[in-house]
């Protein structure tokens, strides 16, 4: 039971005998991919709307108020329709194939990474023992897409943006990976579902960040590295609209441009969810503990767990927006300094400290 695809396990007994196995697998794959695509679309819609509202309210404005009625909730939809109906422009000097491929690679990487993310303790598309590695690997793959977009655009601004992205991601992959080792030391598994289940003690508040002070510090470092990884301010140098026009997005318009944004918001949610899984309890919260106690392991518990994850991911996105509208953009040398000179050593100290703490705890108990 604890392997493969939860959907497959759900649907396999329902399939009639004459249906071949490959058809069942194909159906399950299509359903799963549709769910992930729907999630990415929803996150992008809600994310752009929330970004506009949060930025507006931080600046004491209202933001979108008219489209759709209540606080302009349909603004993102209207924007999407506008972007789809725009002309698909490819610059004359651009490398057409790479130019068209780049957004797909970005989005495909995020899709793949999202597939590794369980949506509930018993609803996942893959019970992957190295789940967090898969997520980190695929979210790093987005860099290839950005560099490709920058190179194919045949514009110096795009290339500058792409180079910055490459430099930045190389610098911040290190603290990102290292800080993740601290909670992994404590929990002892790379599997997201198992990591979440390990945090269910103390009435659903046995979060790894509270079990070990070094994990709490490394969660902050991890979050900063995530900001750089997802190209969010104050590390949005690849885009840097005041310096590089729009960085690697300069030559993109219409639906291709919006694909980059879908990728950005999906990656934001994904990385917030990973932060939640390995530092702040994953599915576990007092609510899911209550649901577990009163309704057992059934559908209610799964639903509460899913909602907990959504709330935690949304809170992560909110923190990213809050930071974006608080801090000015760093200079590229400051970004490099922060990555190599500050975050990397601190991450190493955190891992060392977490290991020593765990060893002492083990020796005492």
């Amino acid at each position: 039971m604890n392997d493969g695809n939860a959907l497959l396990h759900l649907l396999q007994p329902l399939a009639p005998d004459f249906v071949p196995d490959w058809a069942v697998v194909l159906t399950v794959a299509i359903i799963g991919v549709s769910i992930v695509i729907a999630i990415v679309g929803l996150i992008a819609l809600a994310g752009t709307w929330a970004e506009r509202k949060v930025s507006a309210h931080i600046q004491c404005r209202y933001g979108p108020m008219y489209v759709g009625g209540w606080h302009g909730w349909a603004q993102a939809l209207a924007d999407g329709i506008k972007l789809i109906s725009k002309e698909d422009m490819i610059p004359i000097g651009a490398d057409r194939k790479l130019f068209m491929l780049a957004p797909s690679i970005l989005l495909g990487a995020v899709f793949a990474a999202l597939c590794a993310m369980p949506l509930a303790p018993a609803f996942y598309f893959g019970y992957i023992d190295l789940g967090v590695f898969m997520i980190l690997a695929f979210s790093s793959l987005t860099t290839i897409g950005v560099v490709m977009a920058g190179w194919a655009s045949n514009s110096k601004w795009s290339l500058y943006g792409a180079m910055r992205e490459a430099a930045q991601v190389v610098a911040y992959e290190i603290p990102l990976g290292i800080t993740l080792l601290a909670p992994l030391l404590v929990v002892g598994t790379f599997n997201l579902v198992e990591a979440s289940n390990a945090q269910a003690d103390y009435f659903g508040m046995g979060w790894l960040a509270f079990k070990n002070p070094f994990v709490l510090v490394s969660s902050v470092i991890f979050f900063i590295a995530v900001l750089a990884e997802t190209k969010r301010a104050p590390f949005d140098l690849p885009e840097a609209e005041s310096e590089l026009v729009a960085g690697f997005l300069t030559e993109y318009s219409g639906i291709r441009w919006s694909l980059f944004f879908m990728e950005e918001y999906a990656a934001m949610f994904l990385m917030s969810a990973v932060t939640a899984f390995f530092f702040f309890g994953g599915f576990e919260s007092p609510f899911s503990y209550l649901a577990m106690q009163s309704f057992g392991d059934g559908i209610v518990y799964q639903l509460v767990c899913f909602l907990t994850l959504v709330v935690k991911g949304s809170f992560g996105i909110f923190m990213m927006m809050w930071l974006r509208w608080t801090l000015p953009r760093l200079r590229i040398d400051q970004v490099m300094t922060m990555g190599y000179k500050y975050l990397t050593p601190l991450a190493l100290i955190c891992v060392l400290g977490a290991g020593i703490w765990e060893a002492i705890k083990h020796a005492v108990s």
Partner: protein
């Protein structure tokens, strides 16, 4: 300046960045919780100051077509014309060309009857530049026939009022006070 210990500087840098980020986020968080200070413009508007200089507002019934405002205008954007019928005026035009007008308020001061004012309306968007020449007249005034008709109506009304007053006077004999306010005629003919 004493050269700081590099280790202390390193730790201070970390502390500074954490502290300044926390302060900044507290400030932006405060603004996030605050009610927005902007208003949804076409639906609600902020009050406009009394001395605001917007589109002119003409009290046409007071105007005597003396051309003082047109003469005062430094860029000659006011044009006015009226035909006199005794004390009454039959207006031909009173236009302000808002392509030229610079809202200097110089037309307001020379007015002997205090009938031209700077209004509060500022949103003046049109599809054609010719529409920027705005006619301030709210009515065209009296033609000869209309003037006669109005005079008759006024006489009738005055007679009615006189009868009414006489009746009231008769009814209230005890009341000694019998005040008949003289109606001031604003539209004196000037020589």
């Amino acid at each position: 300046m004493v050269k700081a210990n590099p280790v202390r500087r390193y730790i201070k840098n970390i502390w500074d960045s954490v502290y300044s980020t926390a302060v900044g986020m507290r400030i932006t968080g405060k603004y996030l919780m605050q009610k927005p200070i902007t208003v949804q413009y076409p639906d609600e508007r902020l009050p406009i100051p009394d001395r605001y200089r917007g589109i002119h507002y003409l009290e046409q019934e007071k105007c005597i077509n003396c051309l003082a405002c047109a003469r005062a205008c430094p860029i000659d954007c006011i044009e006015m014309d009226a035909i006199r019928h005794g004390k009454e005026l039959e207006w031909v035009l009173f236009t302000v060309d808002y392509q030229k007008c610079m809202f200097c308020e110089l037309c307001v001061y020379p007015c002997p009857k205090d009938c031209i004012h700077m209004g509060t309306d500022f949103a003046f968007t049109v599809f054609d530049r010719s529409e920027l020449v705005l006619d301030l007249l709210s009515y065209k005034g009296m033609s000869r026939e209309a003037r006669i008709r109005k005079k008759e109506a006024e006489e009738k009304k005055a007679a009615k009022e006189a009868a009414k007053a006489a009746k009231a006077a008769a009814a209230a004999e005890t009341a000694a006070a019998e005040a008949e306010p003289e109606s001031a005629d604003d539209e004196e003919q000037e020589g």
